[in-house]
């Protein structure tokens, strides 16, 4: 039985009025359109979050600077963190998952298409609500301006006594709403992956991207919920006179920290695991070998999923827990580093003995490997709790987590963009443009985030809007800010490449990379129904089996 696409008659391809096409996008429940909506939404907020970061860096370029007031600065770092985590990274990863999972498991849509749409619009609304906070001037002190309590919103700074007006409420409600959206998306991911795989695709034969998104989905429903609960408690404190985090009434500020970080730590694994998924799909194709050690990659990810729920208080080493508690969280933090580190070996093992092609997706994945290695090692350093007593809450930590999120996740995301852009848009991007993007961004990233470790070592804490001269921090802050210029240029090259390629790129064809997973078997872009006939598979690389009938994977798996 052939798996051709059904020919579309000329009547079906006549250009429809713009209003109708826009309406289509607004009411769609098609996973591909929703995926694109998530991604475009996130890209917009990436720019906004980047502007906030730039403002921060300009303010810190010299000591005692007056570029922005302390109030504005505090809003900038709060909004930058909140935006980047909740309205850039999560939506963009959900977007890629929503787009790719049904295609990669050989089905026509997600398990609950309407829930899919509902979850997207909840997330989108959450972001808009958060940014609505900027509107509303400085009339009543604090009322109506953006939240300025840090993205962790520690109690009791968030109580009515210390956060006047409604800025904290914008934070709480925006995240509550988008959190529900995230839980909805994850329910969809889990159900789709468990219940809608095409015939022959057992759990042991599905692409790693599906496995990793399954683990991520499970983590979201268990990790976002504590945050939701904590935010409901915060609302009760602020509006109903509750005392959950009211230290004057015997409440505990540390309880908020526990609840927040029980969410917060798994959250960062929720962010990195889909990035691992991209690397696990891209590196094999551009090394021309299957992923090294598929079963261990799955086992390691499941392990990370579980162990990551036991490390949260490494964000609280300085809070004054007992030596036993600190020791416990030290060992669990180091333990979670083992399955994480192993994956790096598996990726290198995939490249070993291969024929590596340095196209843009692979360049970014190599950058990801190098930077994730360093980020993981600084993470182990911070997991040594006495070391964290010095470096916690300093610029060393800021450097560490940006190394993970920008050097790891964003690089893998750029790789994913270039890898799947031909499939999503039907056009090839410009390889030259992409290489400019890569080198400019790489230089900018390293200028900023390598040297950012130093002020932390020299005693510079986080979240300070200025610093006095003579502490030895000036030169490092200057270099860090200069790196931003390169990063901005790199991102401009990226956006330019996307737009130019959308309009002028070469037609990509079904399978420009000679890849092996199901999404490359259908047209670029795929038709609404994804596949004319539902595929039946026999191995992890169904297209390899087709292209190499004399040497199919299912003989060796």
């Amino acid at each position: 039985m052939a798996s051709e696409t059904i020919a579309i008659t000329p009547a079906g391809t006549a250009a429809r009025p713009i209003v109708e096409r826009l309406h289509d996008w607004v009411v769609t429940v098609d996973h591909k359109k929703l995926g694109i909506l998530y991604i475009v939404y996130a890209l917009f907020f990436l720019v906004v979050g980047g502007i906030e970061a730039t403002i921060i860096r300009i303010q810190l370029i010299i000591p005692n600077n007056h570029f922005v007031s302390p109030e504005v600065f505090n809003r900038m770092f709060t909004m930058h963190g909140t935006t980047m985590i909740f309205f850039v990274t999560m939506p963009i990863l959900f977007g890629f998952g929503t787009y790719l999972i049904p295609l990669m498991i050989g089905t026509r849509d997600m398990a609950f298409p309407r829930l899919n749409a509902f979850s997207f619009w909840l997330t989108a609304f959450g972001g808009l609500l958060l940014y609505l906070s900027f509107i509303g001037g400085n009339g009543l002190y604090g009322a109506g301006t953006a939240p300025d309590v840090g993205w962790w919103a520690y109690a009791p700074l968030t109580s009515r006594a210390f956060s006047l007006g409604h800025s904290t409420d914008f934070w709480t409600l925006a995240l509550l709403i988008s959190g529900i959206g995230s839980i909805g998306t994850s329910i969809n991911f889990i159900t789709t992956i468990l219940c809608m795989r095409c015939p022959g695709m057992t759990l042991g034969k599905m692409p790693l991207l599906a496995w990793l998104n399954l683990v991520m989905g499970g983590m979201v429903i268990l990790a976002l919920s504590p945050l939701t609960a904590a935010q409901i408690m915060l609302c009760i404190d602020r509006y109903l006179g509750g005392h959950f985090f009211d230290t004057q009434a015997g409440g505990s500020a540390v309880l908020w920290m526990h609840f927040f970080w029980i969410f917060g730590h798994p959250e960062v694994y929720i962010l990195i695991i889909p990035a691992f998924a991209f690397a696990s799909e891209i590196i094999p194709v551009f090394s021309r070998k299957p992923i090294f050690g598929y079963p261990v990659m799955v086992a390691a990810t499941v392990c990370i999923g579980f162990v990551s729920f036991s490390v949260w208080a490494h964000h609280m080493f300085t809070v004054g827990m007992s030596s036993y508690a600190n020791s416990f969280f030290t060992i669990t933090t180091m333990a979670v580093g083992v399955p994480t580190g192993i994956k790096i070996f598996n990726w290198i093992g995939t490249m070993w003995g291969g024929k590596i092609q340095f196209k843009a997706p692979m360049l970014f994945c190599i950058g990801f490997l190098f930077q994730f290695l360093i980020a993981g090692l600084t993470g182990i350093m911070l997991g040594v709790s006495p070391f964290d007593w010095q470096l916690g809450s300093s610029y060393f930590v800021v450097a560490h987590f940006h190394y993970v999120i920008v050097g790891g996740i964003l690089f893998a995301l750029f790789g994913a963009f270039y890898y799947w852009f031909p499939k999503i848009s039907g056009r090839m991007y410009s390889e030259t443009f992409a290489k400019w993007h890569f080198w400019l961004f790489l230089i900018g990233f390293h200028l900023t985030f390598d040297f950012m470790h130093v002020p932390g070592i020299l005693g510079m804490p986080r979240r300070i809007y200025t610093y006095e001269p003579g502490r030895g921090w000036e030169i490092w802050n200057l270099i860090v800010t200069i790196g931003v210029v390169f990063q901005i240029t790199g991102v401009l090259a990226f956006v330019g490449n996307l737009l130019w390629s959308l309009l002028r790129g070469e037609p990509a064809g079904n399978d420009p990379w000679d890849a092996w997973t199901l999404e490359w078997s259908t047209t670029s872009p795929p038709p609404d129904y994804n596949f004319a006939t539902i595929p039946v598979v026999r191995s992890r690389r169904p297209l390899w089996d087709l292209k190499h009938p004399e040497d199919p994977d299912w003989k060796y798996e």
Partner: protein, 355 residues
Amino acid sequence: MKPPRKNRDLAGKLVGIAVLVAGFLLAAKLCLGAPPADHFQVPSIFKPQSTPAESIFHLSILVLAITGVIFVTVFSLLAFSIAKYRRRRGDDRSEPPQVYGSNQVELAWTVIPVLVVLVLFLATARVIHSIQDAPKPPGTIEVTVIGHQFWWEFRYPGLGVVTANELHVPVSDPSHPTPTFLTLMSADTDHSFWVPQLAGKTDLIPNRVNHMWIDPHQTGLYVGQCAQYCGVEHALMLLRVYVDSQEQFDQWVKQQREPAAANVSSDEGRRVFETTSCVNCHTVSGTVANGRFGPDLTHLMSRNTIASGIMPNTSENLRNWIQDPNSIKPGSLMPAMQLNEKDQDALVAYLEALR
């Protein structure tokens, strides 16, 4: 003739890496070898001057060594595989041998990291215990630190001393240690006490009592600042710790215990102080002023800086601060006193008499 594209990419990468390594080495040298720029040293965690900071420093050397070895090993494997297994020009586009995995290799690279983690953990647990469960020797100085938005209150219960923002402690001789044990509390939001050269940081959390200790071996001034975001002026909540010789410390304590210095020329200023709302927030011992909301001013002139370390304690600065604290530290909880010229002069004269 330009080298082929792949080799240029590779060369570029190697150059980039070399630049980075050079940069790191330079950074390391600057971190460790920075000369004192002011009368305080650059507060580097790698220049410890107190027992807990030194324990952390020694542990960090081990950690850096282990992570350094891991980095070099894995990076070499990565660089090697990129260099050796890249597709060459003129390649026949055949697929390389499809290897799915190797149980032995995977077992090895699981077991080794587990052993590394074990070693690291054991070394760490020792230091955690030695710092957190340290006993108090007989000569210990006890200080209660209360964090406020945006200043530090220091009370020495055993010595009857109350001061603010500048902490004085005696130097500790290893043969006869006189460490200072700090009890940490907060009057409002979360803060964190961090003076890198003396110890790791510990948070000050309302409705919770925390403890830490320092054991400085060298006299001098050590700087730090609040390390947990506590509100608008978190950045300007600086710490200055003066490690004095035993004689200097005893002298300081003696002076701090005296009530406010009486001075005829400052009676007018004292009247202004006591009839304006100053007394609601500030204490001047021996007078009617006994407010606890703001810093104790009894020996204001014994401090080198004001407003929590952000400016030198000069007449000009004092005057400007009283005139309008929010123009210097916006969000500071001290209101502008709106005094006329005459009252202001008198008040500053009074404060300058508080030695």
